[in-house]
Symmetry: none
């Protein structure tokens, strides 16, 4: 993270992209919008292949600097505010923002010093619920409901474009203060795991399906509130206190 | 012009598009944004070819209804307000609008009953001066000046998107949220109290000042996330489970 500017724009996280051309085209769209940091979760193809480079059309440095992760959690661990781009809401209780409001939220958080990212799912299926529940909110690009499928790079372009407009527009971002110290995602998720571990004998917890649903519910609850580290410590204290059999 | 709706959105005029795939992808982008009318000026390839159809990804009707003209003038002859999309201003004395202002001007004219269109030039060169001078103004999409080249369909998408946003309601949906079922505050507070009761012997809990601070922290955490009633029930279950001494 030598480049200071990197911290001043959201990173783009592509979860399990299928085609390397699409990764290349996403890099091109990023460069169009002055976004710099690309993160890839288990890409199926090589993002440094000739095909990917050609598709990036002079945005190869973004591909070369891209980091590869083996899980979404790992890829967003150090981020403090993450939005998930998805056309469907999937019945999750999450804030849903349109592209321009999403960009504005992102911009606000970045102005307050937070590290931010936008997640995009695999071309064919989009983001899975397990990934969406890690995000602070959902971005839903307003498009013709009869034909709203976008290809990956177009989705990156539209969101990047909305973000870019803010960075050049000097719209005085109303400062909402207290979000400056939101804990990075990895700490929030560590807490969730800690809580989940404590629930080993909780109702239905050995029913795999119900357990998964509960885990997603809990993660939604605790990612939604942008907890600070201090608040996490409070919650740890409470869980441990409650869980102590005396 | 049998379809009334056609008059309620700008038509897209592609001047001498080179590749039929790009025409297909432009049609797809149009459909994404509920634009219907495509006009082609001397396309180099057949816009009804299999390649074009495949690229349109279920937007074939736009290709099939497209009209082909032999000159730009002919293609825009019946229109009353035309904007030219180009990255360069080419020293013309013309109104230059960004994409959202351009869309707004277009929308205003359409609301007043005018027939409008947006012109796009050939992939490699963009619009020629002779074409630009026919337009009422220039639309210049704000993008990273170091890398502002967009492919044709992306340019159509961005302008179509800006237009589409206007048609769906003036940002009246500031925050579209999934929060319709957020629990009423009284239920959230009841939960907080329940949790607080369970903490009677929690660290520092008999220090009045520290207790107050903790209570405020907890209420902040749990009011901030707009919990649903179902989520509250989950949390009750967990607190009770954890607090059970066995």
């Amino acid at each position: 993270m030598t480049n200071d500017n990197i911290n001043h724009s959201p990173c783009v996280i592509l979860v399990e992209p299928q085609l390397c051309e699409n990764v290349g085209m996403a890099a091109r769209a990023m460069k169009n919008c002055a976004l710099k940091e690309l993160r890839l979760v288990s890409p199926r193809e090589d993002h440094l292949s000739d095909k990917a480079r050609a598709a990036s059309s002079n945005s190869e440095e973004i591909l070369e600097q891209a980091k590869v992760y083996s899980s979404t959690l790992e890829a967003i661990g150090d981020l403090q505010y993450v939005l998930a781009s998805t056309a469907r809401h999937r019945d999750q209780t999450k804030l849903v923002l349109d592209a321009s409001d999403g960009a504005r939220e992102m911009y606000k958080h970045i102005m307050q010093g937070a590290k931010c990212g936008i997640m995009f799912g695999p071309e064919r299926t989009g983001l899975r619920n397990e990934d969406i529940c890690l995000a602070d909110g959902i971005i839903n690009v307003p498009l013709n409901p009869e034909h709203c499928s976008l290809n990956l790079s177009q989705a990156v372009l539209l969101l990047g474009y909305e973000y870019y407009k803010l960075t050049i527009g000097h719209r005085s971002a109303e400062l909402v203060t207290n979000h400056s110290h939101a804990a990075p995602k990895e700490k929030v998720l560590l807490f969730c795991k800690h809580l989940e571990d404590k629930l080993s004998r909780f109702a239905n917890y050995n029913d795999e399906q119900k357990r998964e649903k509960l885990v997603i519910n809990l993660r939604n609850i605790f990612t939604r509130s942008e907890l600070t580290e201090q608040e996490l410590n409070t919650l740890y204290g409470i869980i441990n206190y409650l869980g102590k059999k005396d």
